[in-house]
Structures are given as structure tokens and as C-alpha cells.
């Protein structure tokens, strides 16, 4: 029973669809998901918007087989912690055959449906990751 409020996804669409996060100009730390405050620099930090490439590598992954409500039809599906090239980490679904999953592999973002509230409900979209052909 994930939150399915329209205003919530309207607020998050720029960062979720466009991979907009933030970075601190004072210490060059990148934040994705976006953070409005740099916890290291605090008021000395200068946090500005930053668009991520979404490219990175798999630090760890799992295959969810017992899914929460709303995801039952998708199971099994893979989720990884991706370290983006800018240094931020993000959790994301990894699409493609499970046999290709391995830590250290390079991934790039793809725009996909995340889930549907119901047959006639809202369809939520966002970024997933796909393993690069080369690796």
C-alpha cells in the first residue's frame, strides 16, 4: 500500500523522470535523491540543482520474490543499489535477464512503468536500470 497520491508524484516528477538531484558547490558532494541541505557543510554549503546521467555500477542486488501489495504481478523482479558515476547511491529496479546480474556491472537508466494502482488507476512511471551491453 505504497502512497499513490497524485500531488506526491507531481512534486517528484522532475527528479524521478528527469534524474534531477542536487550537488553542493562547497564540497562537491552529489545528492540523488535531491537533498536541499548538505549535511557536511550545513549553512556554508551552496546546494544547486544537478541533472544526473543515471550511469553507474551495481554495488549489490537482490531478486524480490515475495512482493508487497501492488507489485505481486511483477514478481520476481531485481532491485540493486546503484552507485552513480557522480558518487551518489540510489536503489532501482534492474530490468533484463537475471543471469546477467552481478555486482560491479555497469548500468544505464531506462524510463519504465513502475506500477499501476489498479486496472483503472494511475500508472506510475520512473527510472529503472539496464545492464550495459559491453559488461
Amino acid at each position: 500500500m505504497h502512497t499513490s497520491s497524485v500531488p506526491l508524484y507531481w512534486r517528484l516528477q522532475k527528479s524521478k523522470y528527469g534524474l534531477f538531484g542536487t550537488k553542493c558547490l562547497s564540497c562537491n558532494t552529489h545528492f540523488y535523491p535531491p537533498k536541499p541541505l548538505c549535511s557536511e557543510c550545513r549553512r556554508k554549503g551552496r546546494v544547486v540543482e544537478h541533472q544526473f546521467s543515471g550511469k553507474g555500477k551495481i554495488l549489490t542486488f537482490t531478486i524480490i520474490r515475495t512482493a508487497p501489495e501492488g507489485f505481486e504481478k511483477q514478481a520476481p523482479y531485481a532491485i540493486g543499489i546503484i552507485e552513480l558515476d557522480e558518487g551518489a547511491k540510489i536503489a532501482g529496479q534492474i530490468v533484463g535477464p537475471f543471469e546477467r546480474l552481478a555486482t560491479g556491472k555497469r548500468v544505464r537508466p531506462v524510463f519504465r512503468k513502475i506500477y499501476e494502482d489498479s486496472d483503472d488507476g494511475i500508472i506510475h512511471y520512473g527510472m529503472k536500470f539496464v545492464i550495459d551491453g559491453k559488461s
Binding site: 500500500m1 537482490t62 520474490r65 507489485f71 523482479y77 543499489i81 547511491k89 536503489a91 513502475i114
Partner: protein, 384 residues
């Protein structure tokens, strides 16, 4: 001033369809009063740990409700929430209410009613203790979060799947003698690695169950506590926070909040990890117990498995861990932190189901979410 636990009570843990959250809480509270030899009128305030009655049963405002249910009106009541660490949080707030001089005798309860929902709904409710916007939203579950840590840890430190299975094998063995446990049967390493995959590499027998249950303790300030026959003294505690999201953490193979909470607790108690005679650690998933050994200083980083291989944390070993079966006895999330303290009290009184010989000092480690809240409390048989 010092504070001691003077009474304990708990329900059985499991799928208790015939009892409501109200019934379970009343049962645990009444047993704690009987154990202490106190009456309801002696209780000056109530603190209750509960993660998500609002989603599990659609009921909020538990503090007042439980006070009413227990016939304790009009004493003040506070509901405390920190996901699966709600119980230990309630204990901490109750402790402060005595240390501040406001109260002398306080009841601390923990309760959760999880089986009114379907498994999918319960899994989604538990996932709300994670980062809803950035982790739960993509279908990441609690088993999934711990599975991500498990794979990372296993690859980094060379922990094998069979070695990881030693955690539930030990805790199931301990739970055999626990009359309150949800499951009382022995399992083997083969059973674990052949049980259904939940979230790779974690399997069904690596996971704590979805459970109903309640636990309650009564704590009192020094002057009152000394009148009881076997008070168990609180000697130090720590509470620390980390990012709610797993992806936001610096480390994926330890819980920095637990390391910090333990450091504060040891300092306050004036004891070291080697002084601990037994511990209750938050083994919500197998990997969590191995990380706990390291976060609590029982083993160096990456070497937690050695304590399992050598049998040191088994009953009869040098420092038994999860002597009541840990979270394999059931994990009604809000009750767990209190249930851990109850096992320590039983051990230090010398009346536990798997008694550790001459146990003097016990430690409880309660974790909320995938590690965003960690609370460590240390208790001693002596010190009044």
C-alpha cells in the same frame, strides 16, 4: 538515580487470530503486574511501543486506548514509534520519565497485531518504515533491504550461504524450550538453504515471521526498586540514528547507528563487550545477527561468523546470543524491544528457558527499519 525492571509479562507470539491488540496488551500488562506483585493503582504512567497499528488494524491513539483497556485511567500515556525499535524507544522514554523525577513506577508495553492483514499488505506496511518515496515505491521490501546488505557483506567478507544459515539454526534450537515462541522445531543448514527463496540470497528460514504479540515490563526508581526481591538494574543505554534509506548509507555491511548506540551504552554502563554474559540482538534476518556481533564489538569486522562456527554464541558457549530464540520466536514489531528486555531479566534472575550459568550482565540491541534507529540497553543483576 538508578532504575530497575521489577516485573515482566508477555503473551505467546504467533498468528493469534482469536485475540485483538487490546486483548494481547491487557494480557501482557496484567502478567507484568502479577510478576511484580503490584496493582494497577501503583502504575503512574504508561508508555507503549507500537509501529503501525494505524495500518495494521486502522487504530491510532494507542496510548489512551491501552490505558482505558487496562483500567488505568486517567494516568498519562505515550505511544512511541521507531519502526521495529518502537519497544526499546518506549523503554527509553519511560526510563527518562523516572530519571527526570516525574514518576517512580511506570509500565512499558510493546504490542503489534500484524496478522489481520494479508501477507502482501503486511509486507507493504513494514516497508513503510523504509524510504517510502525512493525505496518502498519501487517495490523494495524489508527482506529485500537485508538481502542487499547480505549479498554485499557475503561478497566483501567471504561469508558463505551455509555459514549464514548457522544463525537461524542456532536460534531455532534456542526457541525449542521457549513456551512463548511462534515456532518450536529444530532446523538444519540444509533446511535453511532449501527453504523457499524470499529475496536472494535470503530464504524463508532466514526471515523473522509476521506475528501478533505483546510484552510489558514495570520499571521503578531506585528507592522503590530496592524493596523488590530481584530487581534487574539498567546500567547504560544508547540510541542513535542513520538514514532511513539504505542507499543513503556510507556502509552497506554494518549499521553505523548500532555502532554508535553501543559505544554510548558501554561508556555509560562502564563495561566492555567482553563483560557481557548474554545478549539479545535484533536478528530480523540472518545477516542482521552477524552484523550485530561486529557492530556491538563481540567480533572484529568481517569475523562475526567465527562466533557461530565455534559455538560461542550458542547456549553453553562463552557468550550466548538470543537465548530465547531471538526474533525466530516471532516478531510482533512493536513488542520485540520489550521482549528482548524480558529475556534479559529472566536470565539475570536465573529463571530463563535456556539459562546461562551465573549471568550477571545482559545486553539488548533493538533495530528499527534497515538500521535507521538503533537502541542498545545494558542491564545488570547487581548495582542497586
Amino acid at each position: 538515580m538508578k532504575v530497575a525492571v521489577v516485573g515482566v509479562g508477555q503473551t505467546r507470539m504467533g498468528e493469534i487470530w482469536e485475540k485483538s491488540l487490546r486483548d494481547l496488551s491487557l494480557e501482557a500488562g496484567s502478567l507484568a503486574l502479577q510478576d511484580a506483585g503490584l496493582e494497577g493503582k501503583d502504575i503512574e504512567a504508561l508508555f507503549i511501543g507500537n509501529m503501525s497499528a494505524g495500518r495494521f488494524i486502522g487504530q491510532e491513539h494507542l496510548g489512551a486506548l491501552m490505558t482505558e483497556q487496562a483500567g488505568l485511567l486517567p494516568i498519562p500515556a505515550t505511544r512511541c514509534e521507531a519502526a521495529c525499535a518502537s519497544g526499546a524507544l518506549a523503554f527509553r522514554k519511560a526510563l527518562f520519565s523516572i530519571l527526570s523525577g516525574h514518576h517512580e513506577i511506570v509500565m512499558v508495553g510493546g504490542a503489534e497485531k500484524m496478522t489481520d492483514l494479508s501477507t502482501g499488505q503486511a509486507v507493504a506496511t513494514l516497508a513503510s518504515a523504509g524510504d517510502q518515496e525512493w525505496e518502498s515505491h519501487i517495490g523494495l521490501t524489508f527482506a529485500g533491504l537485508y538481502a542487499l546488505m547480505a549479498r554485499y557483506y557475503m561478497e566483501k567478507y567471504g561469508l558463505t550461504r551455509e555459514e549464514l544459515a548457522l544463525v537461524p539454526v542456532k536460534n531455532h534450537m534456542h526457541a525449542m524450550k521457549n513456551p512463548y515462541a511462534q515456532y518450536r522445531y529444530e532446523i538444519t543448514v540444509e533446511d535453511v538453504i532449501n527453504s523457499p527463496m524470499i529475496s536472494d540470497p535470503l530464504r524463508l528460514l532466514d526471515c523473522s515471521p509476521i506475528s501478533d504479540g505483546a510484552a510489558a515490563i514495570i520499571i521503578a526508581g531506585e528507592k522503590v526498586a530496592k524493596k523488590f526481591s530481584s530487581p534487574v538494574w539498567f546500567i547504560g543505554g544508547g540510541h542513535a540514528s542513520d538514514t532511513v534509506s539504505l542507499h543513503g548509507r556510507k556502509s552497506l555491511s554494518s549499521l553505523s547507528a548500532a555502532i554508535k548506540a553501543a559505544e554510548i551504552a558501554y561508556r555509560q554502563a562502564g563495561v566492555k563487550p567482553k563483560d557481557i554474559d548474554m545478549a539479545e540482538v535484533h536478528d530480523c534476518f540472518s545477516i542482521a545477527e552477524i552484523m550485530a556481533y561486529e557492530d556491538l564489538g563481540f567480533a572484529p569486522k568481517g569475523k562475526g561468523k567465527e562466533l557461530l562456527i565455534s559455538g560461542e554464541t550458542k547456549i553453553g558457549g562463552r557468550m550466548p546470543v538470543n537465548t530465547d530464540g531471538g526474533l525466530k520466536v516471532g516478531h510482533p514489531v512493536g513488542a520485540t524491544g520489550i521482549k528482548q528486555i524480558i529475556e534479559i531479566v529472566r536470565q539475570l534472575r536465573g529463571k530463563a528457558c535456556n539459562q546461562v550459568r551465573d549471568a550477571k550482565i545482559g545486553l539488548a540491541h533493538n533495530v528499527g527499519g534497515s538500521g535507521a534507529t538503533a537502541i542498545v540497553n545494558i542491564f545488570s543483576r547487581e548495582g542497586g
